[in-house]
Amino acid sequence: MKCNLKRLGAFMLAVVLLVCMVGCGKNASDVDEQGRTIVKIGGYPEEGNEFRPAFDERIAEFEKNNPDVKVDPIKWNFDLNTFYTQAYGGQLPHLISTNFTEVVPTARARIVADISDVLKKHGYEGMINEQIIDALKYNDGIYSFPKGAYLLGIIYNTELFEKAGLMKADGTPIIPKTWDELVEFGVKIKEKTGKPAIAFPTTGNAGGWIFTPIAWSYGVQFVKENEDGTYSAVFDSPEAVAALQFMKDLKWKYGIVQEDTLVDNQRKKELFATGGAAMIIDSGGNVTEFSAYDMDNNKVGAMGLPAGPKKHVTLMGGTAYMISADASKKQQDAALRWIKAEKFYELNDEVKKNIERELEEKARNDQLIGVKPLTIWSQDAEYTKYYNEMVDKYANININHVKPFNDFVADCPAEIRPEERICAQELYAILDKCLQEVWTNKDADVAAIIKKANNDFQKDYLDNY
């Protein structure tokens, strides 16, 4: 009897566990019980997050205006470490957002759908900013819808600039026209405030990302496409050596960067927000992040990147919506309608409400409002004009602190260049190492470092592309 009970107990336990595992693999239906198309939308904030109520309102409004669609919000955000695993496991929502640098790899891996037809059907052909659209294409297909784009600029601490005598009476900063002028500013800041002038990351690919436009301004070209469709690394050049030497001098000649070399992007922002540095190079839109460190928004300013010896250029990047290749045509259509409600070229009431809702949430959460970001539409589009008017309406800082950046975006004097399309993250990782090398070794041979980096990039990545 005892033996029978034991066996029965073991058998029941085994069955329960197996059933659970079978249950886990069950596929969900594409329609709900009312026949509405279910579309899974990523980016749903966590419970208690300040942006969750606005997202919920948006869902309710969207379902009211689109009665054939049921929105299933998913707490999902892009993380490069887990993205491809989730994609393979069919765990991605139908609508996801990633960085511009992932558009080509995800399209190649057939993780995301070609939405050229869907875009055409919804009237988006020819509407998107030409400077951005090229970053979204792969083999003539369009695989993403731009969510937001950014230009790299300089974010500065108005208080430290004031102490260094670099602010004008009207609240705008004195703007360095070249990188050499920026260095002069940096030396002044160091002398007057004792703080590092600039916090510059060198890990997590962030150093390479920010060094890229500096190198471009020195006339560096990183990758060349050959006639046979292969790619060559071409940055073993005097221009690249000069650019890296400039970075080396920031530390050893001028002493205006932070002491810790091994800083990632988050730590860079933390250093700036806690008064540990006067400037960082970042997307102008990221000015909203410093309130999390209790930094007074009126201490934050923004301006464009200065020019280098050969060019005046800035880097454009951004995030893009993409639709999972697993989504049905109806789900693709529903996902694009969701995007339309937020980013429609021509204004309607729903879009206006979403814009104001977004800015009201930012104001409630004491995030900086004042920066007018690079638009995915042309500058004279209705959406752009309305958005900028709303930013002026809800601005919660001295707008002159960020006026130089807003002017830089509106009528950019610099060449706007998208991130490298081929092996961008790998290039950034290699450039990270170059920066680490020159900042940890005073006697580093810059030319040898550039040569090795060029050869490694070619051999390890471009030859296998």
Binding site: T440, D460, N464, Y465
Partner: protein, 310 residues
């Protein structure tokens, strides 16, 4: 009717086999959930990963068979040899810095009379601190500016600041110190438990013969721990060969790859390559697996030796 002797013997055998089978079925049923989980989470991924290492991978989509191409790419990577050297340096420094302290601490705690339990708890405390908290704490301690605790101590003693993790010659040593601090409590307890099993009469005889602490440690304690020390030696090689946490959280593999290991590179292949190097991740995983498999076979042989001793 009484059965013949042979028939009685046969009946007993059948009955015994039947009972044995009944008991085994129960045992296997209890094991079944664990076996299934091990299959899903360990065996299947290991086998699949090893097989896919010979295929062209597009993210996690299996392509054509390419033989040893992935292995070739891994070994020909410009950073493979430096990272292999780094991995071996981790193993080397983990022995120099991390092998003896748990043994010494275990012997000391075994010898003390008062506050034995308190000492054990205090030494074990780092093991219960969450991993990421420990890494962040030590990164702050190692900060090269005056916010770093170590530099504050150095400057207060009249010395210059030191770069610590920013110095490529110290980075691995610094990370090994952090992992030793974290892990030595658990290893100390392992040695301590074996010391508790050592015969007390041997210690009494040694004391009566006039042996001091060091003499007792050499003549009584060392032989008692020798098998365990050998076991820990192998386990340390296996564990340190897979080092990734420290480089990932504290240095990003830098400065300039000075702290990057093979496991760190596997992570880059698997998660930071946009799906282009998944095949290489699997190939490198198989290479590490083979190295560690040889170490594990050695471990099982030694484990058998310890069990025979006890």
């Amino acid at each position: 009717m009484k059965l013949s002797r042979n028939k009685r013997t046969n009946a007993h055998s059948v009955l015994n086999r039947h009972l044995k089978l009944q008991n085994e079925i129960s045992g296997w049923l209890f094991l079944l959930p664990t076996v299934v989980m091990m299959y899903i989470l360990v065996w299947r991924p290991t086998v699949l990963g090893s097989v896919w290492a010979f295929f062209k991978m597009n993210a996690y989509t299996v392509g054509e068979f390419v033989g040893f191409e992935n292995f070739e790419r891994v070994i020909k990577h410009s950073q493979f040899v430096p990272m292999l050297k780094n991995t071996l340096m981790y193993v080397f420094w983990s022995f120099v810095i991390g092998y003896l302290p748990p043994i010494i601490l275990a012997i000391m705690i075994n010898e003390v009379v008062y506050f034995k339990k308190t000492a054990r708890v205090l030494i074990y405390l780092p093991a219960v601190i969450p991993g990421i908290v420990g890494y962040m704490m030590w990164k702050s301690i190692y900060a090269p500016d005056m916010s770093g605790l170590l530099n504050q101590m150095l400057v207060s003693l009249g010395f210059d600041k030191y770069a610590w993790l920013n110095d490529p010659n110290f980075t691995i040593i610094g990370l090994v110190i952090q992992s030793t601090w974290k892990g030595m409590g658990a290893t100390m307890l392992l040695y301590y438990s074996y010391l508790q099993g050592a015969s007390p009469e041997l210690y009494e005889v040694a004391i009566l013969d006039g042996a001091g602490v060091f003499r007792r440690a050499w003549t009584v304690t060392r032989p008692a721990l020798s098998a365990t020390m050998l076991l820990t030696f192998v386990r340390q090689i296996i564990g340190t060969f897979q080092t990734i946490d420290g480089p990932l959280t504290m240095t990003g593999g830098g400065p300039n790859g000075a702290s990057a290991t093979l496991a760190f590179q596997l992570y880059q292949y698997a998660f930071n390559s946009g799906g282009r190097a998944t095949g290489q991740a699997m190939a490198l995983g198989l290479i590490i697996f083979v190295i560690l498999l040889i170490g594990s076979l050695f471990y099982f042989k030694l484990n058998k030796k310890i069990e025979e001793n006890y």
